[in-house]
């Protein structure tokens, strides 16, 4: 029988430690598939963050460095600049990349750093118990916005891709979701384009992956996927936000 689907080589064979229905594992599988397809497993270095995302180092069969909260893009910059032949990516949650680490990601993008960032936006601080994040959408209830986020006291949800699109060094920015096979295929294409942007030396690349956190959203995995499609995607529209051809630093 022909193989329709099998586990990618770069994904270590052990059960994920994520909650049922969490898309961290799904995102990591897709990254592993792209690494396999590009044949770069022996020269890829990942930089992990703080948050549930951090466990990626247990599951991807590449080298890894763990950073302090939000600092992964700065660490990735150092690695890439000292080892330019390596493929370097950061894998960060929204609390990590869009709150405490805003400065690091903004300046890495603005410098056109030759790194790729994969950003898991689940609209909460997942690991610490579902507090409001800069990305929490309006009216969304979290442990620190029990009546729902309202802009007067909590501000507006941060659309990081749109913010980074103002940076001259951003060569490829895309937002994806993983709730059905069609979106998963689009996400995989985006992740591949991001890594190719780096390999071709074109500039900074980032893929934002909308992801459910059923545990902290207080939903079943199925409800969480439905809520993501109905409530999150309208505020965080999917698609490519910036695609620049050519070499930015040339």
């Amino acid at each position: 029988m022909a193989v329709v689907f099998e586990r990618p080589k770069t994904l270590i064979k052990k059960p994920f430690t994520y909650c049922p229905g969490c898309h961290h594992g799904l995102a990591q599988r897709i990254i592993a598939e792209v690494i396999d397809e590009l044949g770069i497993e022996n020269k890829t270095i990942g930089v992990g963050p703080v948050g549930c995302s951090v466990y990626i180092y247990q599951f991807l069969d590449t080298d890894f460095v763990m950073g302090a909260h939000g600092r992964a893009p700065a660490i990735a910059t150092g690695i890439k600049r000292t080892q330019p032949d390596k493929i370097v990516f950061s894998y960060q949650g929204d609390g990590d990349i869009a709150a405490i680490g805003t400065a690091e990601i903004l300046h890495a993008a603005n410098r056109g750093e030759l790194i790729s960032s994969f950003f898991i936006n689940n609209a909460v601080f997942g690991m610490t118990g579902g507090q409001m994040a800069p990305t929490t959408i309006l009216k969304q209830k979290t442990t620190t916005s029990p009546k729902g986020r309202e802009p007067k006291s909590h501000g507006f949800p941060l659309q990081l891709c749109e913010v980074l699109s103002a940076c001259q060094g951003s060569a490829y920015l895309s937002r994806v979701a993983l709730t059905n096979p069609k979106l998963i295929n689009q996400a995989k294409r985006s992740i591949k384009k991001a890594l190719l942007t780096q390999i071709e030396g074109r500039g900074f690349s980032l893929v934002e992956i909308l992801s459910p956190c059923p545990t902290n959203w207080g939903m079943s995995p199925q409800e969480a996927v439905d809520w993501l499609e109905k409530e999150m995607i309208p505020y965080y529209p999917l698609g490519e936000i910036a695609v620049k051809e050519g070499i930015l630093h040339a």
Partner: protein
Amino acid sequence: MKQKETMRLPSGRVIIDQEFCKGCSLCIRICPREVLGLSNRFNSVGYYPAVVESAEKCNGCGFCAQVCPEVAISVYRG
């Protein structure tokens, strides 16, 4: 006879690792042919994993494996 042969739908084979599955049911939600269901026996972690209930209905589209956050599913077609 020949025509019948070419009209035969491909058949699929789904294998679900009972220890990797956490019973999130996203595979059941996405399967267009209602092949999958939940087991009534729990695995060693305590989850009720997904199982193949109607193997004969499967055409091997692979949607279940595509959306599985645990990468617990392999799919073959022939």
